[in-house]
Amino acid sequence: LESAEPTPKAAGRSTSGRLRHRRVQQVPWIFALPGFAAVLLFHFIPIGFGGYYAFTDWNGLTHAHWIGLQNFRDIAHNPTARGALWHTLILAFFFVVASNTIGLLLALGLNRAVKTRHILRALFFMPFAISPLAVGFIWQWIFDYNGALNRAFGGVGLGSWKQVWLGDPKWAIWTILVVMIWQFSGFAMVIYLAGLQAISDDVYEATLVDGASNWLRTRKVVLPLLAPAVTIAATLTLIIGLRVFDQIMALTQGGPVDATESLATQVYKQTFYSGRFGYGTAFALILTVLITAMVLTQIAILRRNESRL
């Protein structure tokens, strides 16, 4: 048997090797240090400060004073805040359902050997590449009472369909939803396309051999295999839906009379309109907790479904 103990010479070599190895290993950490410090400084520390300011009366100009849970009590008693929470949930729910449904249908349609599929994929994805604020301003021009949509209705003899899209509390929130769906369905489509293209051709061939119809193949084979893509697309769209801000600010600024306020617009308005930085960060904290809780719940449910399938 060979001895497990190294010879003195071998031991010396091994120690110096370890030292060298350790030093070489340290170098990448030194390079990583500036990046790590930047992330800590500009990401995690501000989040920590934000968490602290949520419990203060800070006005952005003078010193902050600790006021405990007062900001959260004020939010609970504020009808605008309750409305903002409700609008956020409504928008997020319908946005997730609609953008994923449309995205999936587009992906199924464009996963075929259609000649124009590459152009169509690019066209449907293009809105996602535009800034949401710019998209909001373009749609504001369309939805304005004298804008393109009402003019188009008037032009084709459907003048009675004209609506005060952005100024009527019945319509305003749905116009925002339309804009969000228009912008992000292409994004969901890309995720589903990636999922569809990951399905092996053998699976399709096997279903053909078994004589499965298109509908049966989609329902029983394709959709179950798309479950991971559903988890990703639904999670990302839920996050986008819950933090909706740009479209609202560009289209309605939360109006008419708070009819389209969301938690994110309240964060902004309370902080920068009213100068109530502490109160605004309390809203931000609530939004963060809400997004985290809902996303984790959704992921857990979808993952469970994935494993069942």
């Binding site: 030093r23 952005g60 004209k162 009527d168 509390p169 109006g255 009379v257 920068f272 009213s274």
Partner: protein, 429 residues
Amino acid sequence: MSTRTGTRRVFAIPLLVGAVLACAVTAGATTQKKSDQITVTMETLVNQKAIWDVMIPNFERVYPNITINISYNPNNTIQYQNVDTQLAAGNAPDIIPVAPGYGTPIAVHNFAKAGYLAPMVNKPWLKRLVPSVLARDKYGKVLYASTNGVGFYGVFINNTLFKQKGYDVPQTFLQLLSLCKKAHAAGVNTWLLGASDQSAPLVITMDIAIATVYAKDPNWEKEREAGKVTFNGTPGWHQAFQRFQEMNSAGCFQAGAAGTTNNSALQMFALGQGLMWFGITGQKAAIDASNPQFTYTFGPAPVADSTNVARDFYNPDVSFGVNAHAPQAEQQAAQQFIDFVARPKQQSLAMHILGDITQYEWLHSQLPDWMAPFKQALPLTTQPPPLITWWNADVGTVLRTNGVGLITGQQTVSGILQAMDKAFDEGPQ
């Protein structure tokens, strides 16, 4: 051999960083020694760009050792956010845009109270200022801001359409309602309103309140602060909001006003699609840009019972303060720039580019031709926007958010006034 190389690498990195820092420090010191050039940073709204494109080169010709480095904010909302954040972070520009009085996130009162503004002393331009504007550039007895121009709220009048339809320009509220009914029946838009971005109902109701509240009781604000009166308990405030509703009922506003942006309403006016558009004189440039051939005049809003009472407010414009935390040399240069812009010729040039007038021109009733109909109302126009005299920005926010509700049916007059009282009672910011 390789151990040495590794060790060298480990020591080489801090050495390299140190060398770079040393070079940077030395270079900085050398540059400073080489030149006495001072760069003053400044920030303002992009709609003032045309002014500063002229003023800054003029100044730099006279003061070649000072460079003005200006940056622009696209709108008030972004400006509020930027200025507040920069002040809190300690990297605000040397010349800060401010709004006189209280009531906005960049109010002189708030910034001076927090110690962000440097005092302005022994200013040669003080004697050319209107006392009520000057009072709002002060905190306590100390002057902290320079306001260069004044805009007036009122109506832009499409004289061609009035003449074409055979209508008279209304002067009183009753005449306005009568015109609205007549014009509405004839399919003519009387008052183009863009209510979807919330600011129009805010300024119109405040303007009406000048006639129904402030003209009757100039001390109303002080009484409100003392708790002797309330918004909801003041008949004049009810009347102001009711008049806005009456205008809506009489068909003054075009169809879909609640879903029309203010910019869209301005465009409609510039295209001759209505008799009047309510706005501030500083928006002249935007109307001219939309349709350079369009001619119009500017007059008082017909919202009062007679022409002998105040019925519009003035708006102090292009106001700046000096950052008290800027280095002394930059502060001094910033004060020099502010003094230069306040010179009569420069100030007049700048304000006319914007569509405003200077305080001196206001004091001497020197109005441009297109503002001729406003001349009679000028001596009565002594009230700034109530928004900047309310001690709490939330009062204005309540009015801004809820005003459109009087058209959409989401709000009642009492509901809004109670909410304004509640916001006011939160106290000064």
